[in-house]
């Protein structure tokens, strides 16, 4: 697999608690899955996707986890139009 070069902005993932280690009182569905952390930072040393890696975050802390995403980006939008909203406020009688 391709190596990602040091200095690249990436997202890593860590399992903070396995299902067995989680808080005692959780709903059934939540109890079955691990407690997962994702955090972004600059890759400290060359690493492969999916392999352990260390990053330096925006405030300079060094954290480690599994390398998940290269150039993690925000792509949220206003969504698909919801036509039900469009006529509100234009209608004759409010």
């Amino acid at each position: 697999m391709a190596k990602i070069t040091a200095g690249t902005w990436v997202e890593i993932e860590q399992i903070i608690l396995t299902p067995e280690q989680r808080a005692p009182t959780l709903p059934e569905d939540t109890k079955k899955v691990p407690y997962v952390l994702k955090v972004s930072g600059f890759l400290l040393a060359e690493a492969e996707l999916g392999a352990p890696a260390r990053v330096r975050t925006l405030i300079g802390r060094e954290l480690e986890g599994k390398l998940k995403t290269v150039n993690p980006s925000y792509e949220h939008t206003f969504g698909q139009v919801v036509p039900e909203l469009l006529t509100i406020g234009l209608e004759e009688d409010l």
């Binding site: 903070i16 608690l17 280690q21 989680r22 808080a23 959780l26 709903p27 569905d29 939540t30 899955v33 691990p34 407690y35 997962v36 952390l37 994702k38 955090v39 972004s40 930072g41 975050t57 925006l58 405030i59 300079g60 802390r61 925000y74 949220h76 939008t77 206003f78 969504g79 698909q80 139009v81 919801v82 039900e84 909203l85 509100i88 406020g89 234009l90 209608e91 009688d93 409010l94």
Partner: protein, 474 residues
């Protein structure tokens, strides 16, 4: 840190020492019993007067926000109200604060405190707006910020509004720890406080609530100056209760003793807040009953030993609105008032419409906040996401909606009517929670007085209900 046991149980058991080191407040000094503590003395001893608060906030682009009269909306409400009814609706544009919400007030004093006490940075665990506020205030004070946020479910999916709030924290230079669903946010907060030695910028410290008091003061002054009267009612979106507590305390400090304090939350009853499955079936990320009811009925469930946000102490009424009603009103604010604003302020605006209809025309009802809006943090984003996740979205009678299954957007303004919650039921639920922590047969005078003050009732009211608490495990 090094060599310490970092398991869930071990870290949780070090809670008190971690808190003490990360806040510099010794809560033991105020605690009187397992439930009672000297709330007013704790608030007074923050060391910040209102003048200090205003000066500190002015330095970091917080406060002094405009108060607008919503003339077209007021007119529209009057047309569907009984003769003589239809109070003026005013809106405090809190989106004008640095970071886009009233939460900047709350973060500002903590940032200042962290700076003067020499902490290198601050940490907050939050649903988002507060994180952005902490990050923005920290950036201005030259402090580092870590924000701990619940973002995605076990499929890795988060709703657009949450993603946007995380983006905003990062935009201000914070390290954002993005987590899957679960209450263990608190565990990670403790662990991170211990690892970094940063300041605990909890939402629930006296600094946080004190910072919001300036909002109540400004409302009192602005309404008096423009209308020559005191606000008749102030409507406040309620989640953890700090918004209401701080605003009400500010109004009282300004002498507005007759102002009716109205809480408002979006009704999400039936959805479980710690459920991985339900996480993305809500279309609101805060200001809803999933926070509002548990926090009102037991404030001391937070990341500090005693909570400075105690909403039932100040509340006169608690309104519930549906998701569809808030989306309708958000669109209406945009189309007839020319203001695009985010969901939390529009929640209290929705309840204000119902209240205005019952109030006289010469009275004023104040919606005490707006928040910013944009991609993700927008009703179209949230509705389109809901639809994609199998939630039915349609126009109709909002009373027919079921949280997590359907969102019904009113067809006409008169269908915006909200619903009141029975305050006595909430108070009794609070007493039951107190009874679980400290059995009523051990309640002394100090406990009864504390409970009465915390519930805005007299001590007889509390005494009369003690008998029914032990059997009644509500």
């Amino acid at each position: 840190m090094n060599g310490r046991d970092m398991s869930y149980q071990a870290v949780m058991s070090r809670k008190n020492e971690i808190m003490k080191a990360s806040l510099g407040i010794d809560y033991d000094d105020y605690i009187q019993s397992p439930i009672a503590f000297d709330y007013e003395r704790m608030m007074a001893e923050t060391g910040y007067t209102h003048d200090d608060v205003i000066r500190i906030q002015h330095e970091t682009k917080v406060g002094n926000t405009p108060l607008f009269e919503l003339r077209n909306l007021t007119e529209a409400v009057r047309r569907s109200s009984p003769p003589g009814k239809g109070a003026r609706i005013l809106l405090k544009d809190e989106a004008a604060n640095a970071s886009g919400s009233f939460k900047a007030r709350r973060a500002s004093i903590s940032a200042y405190e962290a700076l003067v006490k020499g902490y290198p940075g601050m940490i907050a665990a939050t649903s988002g707006n507060y994180g952005a506020a902490v990050a923005s205030q920290a950036a201005q004070r030259g402090l580092k910020a870590i924000i701990i946020q619940e973002v995605f479910d076990s499929r890795g999916i988060g709703q657009p509004e949450i993603i946007e709030k995380g983006r905003k924290c990062e935009a201000y230079g914070a390290e954002v720890l993005k987590l899957s669903v679960g209450p263990e946010l608190f565990y990670l907060l403790l662990r991170t406080l211990e690892e970094t030695g940063f300041f605990n910028a909890s939402l629930y410290t006296p600094f946080g609530v004190r910072g919001v008091e300036s909002l109540g003061l400004e409302i009192a002054n602005q309404v008096r100056a423009a209308y020559g009267r005191e606000p008749d009612a102030v409507v406040i979106t309620h989640a953890g209760g700090g918004n209401l507590t701080g605003t009400a305390r500010g109004l009282l400090a300004a002498g507005c003793e007759q102002t009716r304090i109205v809480a408002c939350s979006v009704d999400l009853s039936g959805l479980h807040m710690a459920s991985d499955h339900d996480f993305n079936r809500k279309s609101f990320t805060t200001g809803h009953t999933g926070f509002g009811v548990p926090f009102a009925t037991w404030p001391d469930r937070v990341d500090v030993p005693r909570n400075a946000a105690r909403s039932l102490r100040y509340m006169d009424e608690y309104q519930l609105v549906t998701q569809g009603e808030v989306f309708y009103v958000t669109e209406l604010l945009t189309k007839i008032e020319g203001l695009e604003r985010g969901p939390a302020g529009n929640t209290s605006l929705t309840a204000a419409i119902t209240l205005a209809r019952q109030m006289d025309q010469e009275q004023v009802v104040v919606v005490q906040e707006t928040e910013y809006t944009g991609a993700g943090k927008h009703h179209n984003s949230q509705l389109s996401f809901a639809r994609k996740n199998g939630i039915e979205v349609r126009r109709g009678d909002p009373g027919d909606s079921v949280p997590g299954e359907s969102i019904v957007i009113p067809e006409r303004l008169e269908q915006v009517r909200g619903k009141v919650q029975d305050l006595d039921r909430l108070r009794i639920s609070y007493l039951n929670n107190a009874a679980r922590i400290h059995p009523p047969d051990r309640w002394g005078e100090v406990d009864i007085s504390f409970l009465a003050a915390d519930l805005k009732v007299n001590t007889d009211w509390v005494r009369q209900r003690i008998g029914s608490l032990s059997q009644n495990d509500a």
